[in-house]
Amino acid sequence: MNPHLLSILIFLPLLAAVVMLLIPTVQKAAYKYIALVTGGLQLLLSGYMYYRFHPKGAGITEERLYQFKEHLPWIRLDMGGMGRLEIDYFIGVDGLSMPFLFLTALIMIIAIGASWNMQKQLKGYFVLLMILNMAVMGVFSALDFFLFYVFYELMLLPLYFLIGIWGGARREYAAIKFFLYTLFGSVFMLLVIVGLYFSVTNPETGAHTFNMLHMMDPGNYAPNSLFSWLAENQLFGVPARLLAFIVLFVAFAIKVPIVPLHTWLPDAHVEAPTPISIILAGILLKIGGYGILRICFGIFPDMALQSAWWLGLIGVVSILYGAFVALAQRDLKRMIAYSSVSHMGFVLLGAASLTAEGLAGGIFQMISHGFLSAALFFLVGVLYDRVHDRDIYHFRGLASTMPRYTALVAMTFFASLGLPGFSAFIGEAFVIIGTFNSESAHGVLPRWMAIAGSVGILLSAAYFLWTLQRMFFGQPRFKGGQEWLAVLKDTSTRETLIMLPMLMLALTLGIYPAFALEKINASVLALVSLVTGG
């Protein structure tokens, strides 16, 4: 097996971007085909890696249990009195990241498919898309905090332009809001990274290090350093480690997003072009959840245990609040954006439960939400492409005019509201079960949180079914009258083809969740024992 498989996966899009830059602008069609080929190669590669991934590769704290790893010195700088700067090119995959790499490849190719009819400045668009692709892959595989941060910030830039240039009417507002929101989180993250750097030493070389795995080991902290486990330093009257945990949590929680830091999401989603909405909902939100698990929980397990109650509360609030607000939306895309808030709340709740069931359920929910939200946004895009309207009350009885589209929407809606047989059900059910189990297992979350969270499942049925009833059933009646009737054609073959893999995956994982669970179980158990110390 090629030892550089993971690097190839990450940097393939960069190569594609370079090739695109070399091709003259007149060759419009070339860009999307290059992108499609790149995406296809990545999908194959990540699929192969997923297949080869050994279920026992727990990873988390132990470097030897990571797979497809590469560990090269990257930056070595002698800084005199401050020691030697040690930054590594350190990437690897464990059960926490493997599903997301595959998910990223899948969502990317779907986003490329959804951009097929794009007309505006194709070269720039696809180059940015490829850079984004590389950054996301990098974020999911980086194990050096510095490298992680580089990829993390690199991700923002293309997104800003993709929303700001190719977006809808209020695109500049949405792009800036998105950018500032995320930057707000990550700037403070940088401070924590620096603090961690000065607290942690590499046990082999004795130099300060950005290696995340070293940061996870309490033994590697210098005795009197800022974030030392034993020193119990205070910053602004708050324990330093707690403050760092909160800062990192907020940085990632903005991405998730949690209530009340979620308002960038509806705007970004509504203004972004369909493919970018797909990427945002499908992958970007997952980076938040992934970051919380890998970094917040991994590096500050003691604080995670201590703050679990609050995380659970935030999760419950997000679930209920997102669901209620979704119920009141008129704009279909906004409704789906808020449903994302609600569904991602389950991730947080599951993570906070600190039980294997809850955590695995949360990760499963992220994977499932990855392609289901992508599917939902794609479906909204299908409608919007035709009539440039998304108001729920402007449509009625679509089932009669677009039966295939309605079938796809109904399937996706039911999948999203947690119908058994689809993946979201497994995720949500186990988050609830795990949360409930939490008090019995180690008394972290009270049982009422599980009950409150399950109300979100009820509400999701309410808003999805209500939308289904209002838009799709009944006698056809459209705001645009005959004009709309003429353009509201059923889904094309291309659109159906794009939808199929997502629905098939949702079904496959719903019917046989072991496909994903067997890969993530070991890591989940390792993470649970790291945090709960048992």
């Binding site: 059900f425 409930f436 189990n437 289904l468 009944g474």
Partner: protein, 678 residues
């Protein structure tokens, strides 16, 4: 108990379960080509045969358990498995046994419907989900099927999706059922947290984990884990909530009357064996879990529902609504029966009820079908479901009348029917249970008697109004009997509604093979007198009620005012829908609107406000920079410039002026020096 002779039984049962699903899939693949329903009917017939085989092998024998690993989450494995014991094989047989006649009936009933290919697909899915539910060997799988049943019913109730009432009804059905699903999920979570497994056998065996768990010192203790004892009650109530929603018990029964918007054949299936039966089945399945409190709540809810729904049924005019409330009422009997510990009697009633209720619906469907036909033929606009527009149909539809009368007798609990046996069993047991209860609980059985009386009255009213009373309009004499595709299934079900299917002895329920197969371990002491007294009393009450209905509706001696409060309360179903609308739905929607506005103006407003504040600060800093910092610099320049401008006036260019200035300055310096030195 003897072991069944064959080891491949789980696979046979699996085939029985999967056949309808395969039929559904094939129908889906065939799309519009599968209009005849041949695939679905073949599948359900095959399913019936295999289920019958399984039933024959398992009934009365030791349970058969087959399972395969499904997935592992954390360290806990979950299985897909079948648990074939008396309860489950009974239901496994019952579902296709009811579904096959419904399928056949649908061939004629749904003929010519443009969406019929979808109909067969949904029907197959419905049967599959229900059959899988009854054989599921663990609660998680059961939950999966539970929701699938709800989903399939959603599809079927909203089958005519262009009708607004239909799509509102199916939404309502699904959401109300979702409330129950949450109860079920929480119940599952409680059991999982306490026992670490969801396997039904491990949990609910007579020597299972639930039986072994104890309540001590306010703690519920089981195999090393414990939680406060309240959770034992709560788990029972959570599962009860699930059953209440699925089996349409008060207060979550509101979806069932609306679910009439689906095709009548579907209603018959929903009401007989596939949907509402699931709740009762679940309660019987996990019976050992319920403690005294939970059972008491269950009994109260069951009795209340039985009376309430019977009361509502008294004044309904829609033929299907009457039957819907009748179902709710009968399910109330069953739930009450389980609450009183007699799950064998409840399941028995479930089985007999399945036949006669299915038959009632099919017969009602036949009437509606012919009424629609009449409408079409003569261009009339009678509501085909309103019993006020019917009457005297027994002459035109004698066979339909006969079968419906048999079913009505069974529902009313008249002797020689299956309904008599099962209702008897329930009532007798209720009396025995009541005898050992404290306080007001003793009265519960008598309410059941009252409900039974009301049942006889409203079903008699239905039959008399539709078939016996004088025709509402003359055209009704032009109506025809239905075709044989619809008649044959009804005749079959009529035969099954008689006592012979269940017991050779028409009066002694104790000899019914069905109840003997699953008698609970603990039963209250028998009251020998009740066994003779109850059948006689119940029959007398029923006869009296039927006679009353005859007098009121056939003889036209109707004594009641239709404006009375009680009448209106019954007609409007206790105003419960309006109450829920006011008390639940509107507040939820209002809350969601308030939150949306809060989100827009408060949360997002704060963020936007922060943004604006940032811009304001930036503007301020910009102003400072422009006018204060840069201003100072420019001021210095301006001063120099101005000074220069003033001083340049001295540069006249005239030499003599310069010289004078020089002289003058020298003079001043000199003078200054002189003054200083002086």
């Amino acid at each position: 108990m003897p072991q069944p002779s064959v080891t491949y039984l789980p696979f046979v049962a699996l085939a029985a379960v999967l056949l309808p699903f395969a039929g559904s899939l094939l129908s889906a693949i065939a799309g519009r080509r599968s209009q005849s329903g041949a695939i679905a009917i073949t599948a359900i017939a095959g399913s019936l045969l295999t289920a019958a085989y399984v039933f024959a092998q398992v009934w009365g024998n030791a349970p058969v358990h087959g399972q395969w690993q499904w997935f592992v989450i954390g360290e806990t494995p979950f299985h897909v498995g079948l648990l074939l014991d008396n309860q489950s094989v009974l239901m496994l047989l019952l579902v296709p046994l009811i579904a096959l006649p419904v399928h056949l009936y649908s061939v004629a009933y749904m003929k010519g419907d443009p969406g019929i290919h979808r109909y067969w697909m949904y029907l197959g899915l419905f049967c599959f989900a229900m059959m899988a539910l009854v054989v599921a060997d663990n609660l998680f799988l059961l939950y999966v099927c539970w929701e699938l049943v709800g989903f399939a019913s959603y599809l079927l109730i909203g089958f005519w999706f262009t009708r607004d009432t239909a799509v509102q009804a199916n939404k309502k059905a699904f959401i109300v059922n979702r409330i129950g699903d949450i109860g079920l999920l929480i119940g599952i979570a409680i059991l999982y947290a306490q026992f670490g497994t969801l396997d039904i056998r491990t949990l609910f065996d007579p020597h299972g984990l639930v039986a072994a768990s104890v309540v001590a010192d306010g703690q519920w203790i089981a195999s090393g884990r414990s939680m406060p004892a309240i959770w034992l009650t709560l788990s029972g109530l959570a599962f009860l909530l699930g059953a209440i929603a699925k089996s349409a018990q008060f207060p979550l029964h509101v979806w069932l009357p609306d679910a009439m918007e689906g095709p009548t054949a579907v209603s018959s299936l929903i009401h007989a064996a596939t949907m509402v039966a699931a709740g009762v089945f679940l309660l019987a399945r996990i019976f050992p879990l319920f403690n005294g409190t939970a059972l008491m709540v269950m009994a109260c809810i069951g009795v209340f529902t039985a009376c309430m729904a019977a009361y509502f049924a008294l004044t309904q005019y829609d033929i299907k609504k009457i039957l819907a409330f009748s179902t709710i009422s009968q399910l109330g009997f069953m739930v009450a029966g389980i609450g009183m510990g007699a799950y064998h009697a409840a399941l028995f009633h479930l089985a007999t009820h399945a036949f006669f209720k299915c038959l009632l619906f099919l017969a009602a469907g036949a009437v509606i079908h012919e009424m629609q036909h009449l409408n079409k033929q003569y261009g009339l606009e009678i509501d085909p479901q309103d019993i006020r527009g019917m009457g005297g149909l027994r002459r035109q539809m004698p066979l339909t009348f006969t079968v419906m009368a048999i079913a009505a007798l069974a529902l009313g609990g008249f002797p020689l029917t299956g309904g008599f046996l099962s209702k008897d069993a329930l009532l007798v047991h209720a009396l025995e249970w009541g005898a050992i209860q404290p306080g007001l609980l003793r009265l519960l059985p008598y309410f059941l008697f009252a409900a039974a009386g009301l049942t006889a009255f409203y079903i008699a009213r239905l039959i008399f109004k539709v078939f016996v009373a004088p025709p509402a309009i003359d055209r009704l004499t032009q109506i025809h009997e239905v075709g044989k595709w619809m008649l044959v299934p009804m005749l079959f079900l009529a035969a099954c509604s008689l006592f012979l299917v269940f017991s050779l002895h028409p009066f002694d329920v104790g000899r019914a093979w069905l109840t003997q197969g699953m008698v609970p371990d603990t039963l209250p002491p028998t009251l020998p007198a009740a066994h003779t007294l109850v059948p006689v009393t119940a029959t007398l009450i029923a006869l009296l009620m039927a006679w009353l209905a005859w007098k009121w509706y056939v003889k036209g001696a109707y004594p009641l005012r239709t404006t009375g409060l009680l009448y209106k309360l019954s007609l409007n179903q206790g105003y419960l829908d309006k109450l829920y609308d006011l008390a639940v739905i509107s507040p939820v929607l209002r809350l969601s609107h308030v939150l949306r506005e809060a989100d827009r103006y408060l949360v997002d407003g704060t963020i936007d406000g922060l943004g604006r504040l940032g811009r304001l600060l930036a503007a301020l800093a910009g102003w400072m920079d422009q006018y204060v910092v840069d201003g100072t610099v420019r001021l210095i320049g301006k001063i120099a410039y101005g000074l220069g401008n003033v001083l340049r006036r001295t540069q006249t260019g005239r030499v003599q002026y310069y010289l004078f200035t020089m002289f003058f300055i020298v003079l001043i310096v000199l003078l200054y020096q002189m003054i200083i030195h002086a």
